[in-house]
């Protein structure tokens, strides 16, 4: 027997009405929070765009700064080259190590009990404050000596390894088990199966994950602060192993510190270049990764 009259009109009353209002408030609040998060991102992007776009020109990207007491002119070419070099060396170190860790964790059941502590260690490393990493590398490689780009790359590599290892592991696990079975059934050993079948199948995803890691490393300032910050800002240095190389994050840092407005403007321009690179890298890598995840046959 129904406790309310079933023939009454189907509108909310009393307690239900109150709950509906609450429901709307909660939904509105959640949406507002999401909008706020997106708004913050958009505000940052907009600010950098507005303040930096006036600086962007072909000369800006291809000439070195001319920092002689606020002289107008020059660009950030040496910083772009330097950053590229630092990232290249860091990737050369982080990619093989990250891939090998992932291979060890997913392909070799000897990992077994070691897998969880190793994954935990990688997660902790990922969350380690980058200034601490910079300090560690400074103490390890540079204390009492000269700053080198290599040390900066080393610090960046430490930051990149957990990222590369995680994406690679994910991509390796997506490779269907039956491919490995087929190879084993042909009398091919584990290692050869990994190198000849599993890694090539996961290659696209591995590279995309590397691009994501590069996008992160490109913007890290703290590790470079201690390891690669004392350089000649007006010249191009390519001796990564012997000296500190100019790089974009440090350039932004020092330029904004300077009393000359022309240097501030240059900093904004450099910030725009950096942000554009990271945004483009992130967006394309994530889109490609999503597509690759869908394409792997299951």
């Amino acid at each position: 027997m129904a406790t309310i009259d079933p023939t009454r009109p189907l509108i909310a009353t009393g307690n239900l009405r109150r709950r509906r209002v609450l429901d709307r408030v909660a939904r509105g609040g959640a949406m507002a929070a999401a909008v706020l998060a997106v708004a913050v991102l958009l505000v940052v992007i907009a600010t950098v765009l507005i303040k930096g776009s006036s600086q962007i020109s072909f000369d800006f990207l291809t000439e070195n700064p001319q920092k002689i007491d606020g002289t107008v002119g020059g660009g950030i070419a040496n910083a772009i080259i330097g950053s590229a070099l630092l990232i290249a060396v860091a990737t050369a170190m982080a990619l093989p190590i990250g891939v090998m860790i992932a291979v060890f964790l997913t392909e070799f059941s000897g990992a077994g009990r070691l897998a969880r502590p190793i994954r935990l260690a990688l997660d902790l490393l990922n969350g380690m404050p980058t200034i601490v990493i910079g300090l560690f590398v400074f103490g390890l490689l540079e204390e009492g000596g000269v700053q080198t780009g290599f040390a900066g790359s080393f610090a960046l590599a430490i930051i990149m390894v957990p990222l590369i290892s995680r994406t690679t592991g994910e991509m390796l696990q997506l490779v269907p088990r039956e491919l490995r079975d087929a190879s084993h059934a042909l009398g091919v050993s584990r290692w050869r199966t990994t190198i000849g079948i599993v890694l090539p199948a996961a290659l696209g995803g591995i590279l995309t994950g590397t691009v994501l890691a590069i996008a992160r490393a490109a913007g890290e300032t703290a590790p470079l602060l201690l390891t690669c910050s004392l350089f000649n800002s007006n010249a191009t240095t390519i001796n990564v192993f012997g000296a500190a190389v100019p790089n974009i994050p440090m350039l932004i840092f020092t330029d904004y510190d300077s009393p000359y407005p022309i240097d501030h403007a240059r900093a904004w321009g450099a910030a725009l270049v950096l942000m554009a690179f990271i945004l483009v890298g992130n967006l394309t890598a994530r889109a490609t990764l999503a597509r690759q995840r869908r394409m792997i046959p299951r």
């Binding site: 059941s109 269907p176 039956e178 491919l179 079975d181 087929a182 190879s183 084993h184 059934a185 042909l186 009398g187 091919v188 050993s189 050869r192 000849g196 079948i197 090539p200 199948a201 046959p297």
Partner: protein, 288 residues
Amino acid sequence: MESSRPETDVSDTPLMAPLVIGEQDPVSLETREVVFDLHDINVYYGAALALEDVTMKIHKNVITAMIGPSGCGKSTFIRSLNRMNDSISGFRLTGQALYHGNDLYATGVDPVEVRRRIGMVFQKPNPFPKSIYHNVAWAPRILGMRDGLDERVEKALRGAALWDEVKDRLDRSALGLSGGQQQRLCIARSIAIEPDVLLLDEPCSALDPIATASVEDLMHSLKRDYTLVIVTHNMQQAARVAERTAFFSLNVYDGQRTGVLVEYDDTTTIFTRPTDKRTEDYVTGRFG
């Protein structure tokens, strides 16, 4: 060729299509070399007993089929023959599994070498994401058979009755082939390394009837050079293809299901004059 009239009374069984037994003569086993000699094989996954006390011999150049209801350990059994179960955690095998007199599970045995000689074709065709040529050529090259690779690939593809269909597109991706062609490619891939034994785990269950027929024809010609062991859900397929058939079933002990080998004999005998009632019930369709 019709099956001979069964001596047991099956007049109260549900209607079934007549079983067509293949035209093989019953195998005279005394002269055949024994390839697998298995004694009291027990397989455990952790604490659970999956297969109990399997004892049988498998002979050279004979097609041996394993039939039985789902979950009775046929796949577990066949995968134990070439150490493919090693990667499953908790797997343990007791008893003696002799392959040409050598214990497969002795310490010091290299499972990679075991699989070099005992190949396997899986239920779902699993070609590598490479070209047709490289699918067949990859393993031989790795195993050191680099001379005459082209001839080896052609011979394998001919042996798998696939050469004529793919000879003009060897460098196209193997994933573009049809299901039946992919499965024959997997067979070609396996025979390219010249194994001794070929294990086939339900090779046709993912294929349409025409592709199935072509793979079954293939098996008849393959048995000249290889020993074949096939697991099949399809009784008629066992009847068409195999000379010897092993019937597996399930025993239930306190809720735990364990596979057992019920009967193992010539195919004709299994399907027309089975000794065990469980076999008779299964092949006449009363259960399973």
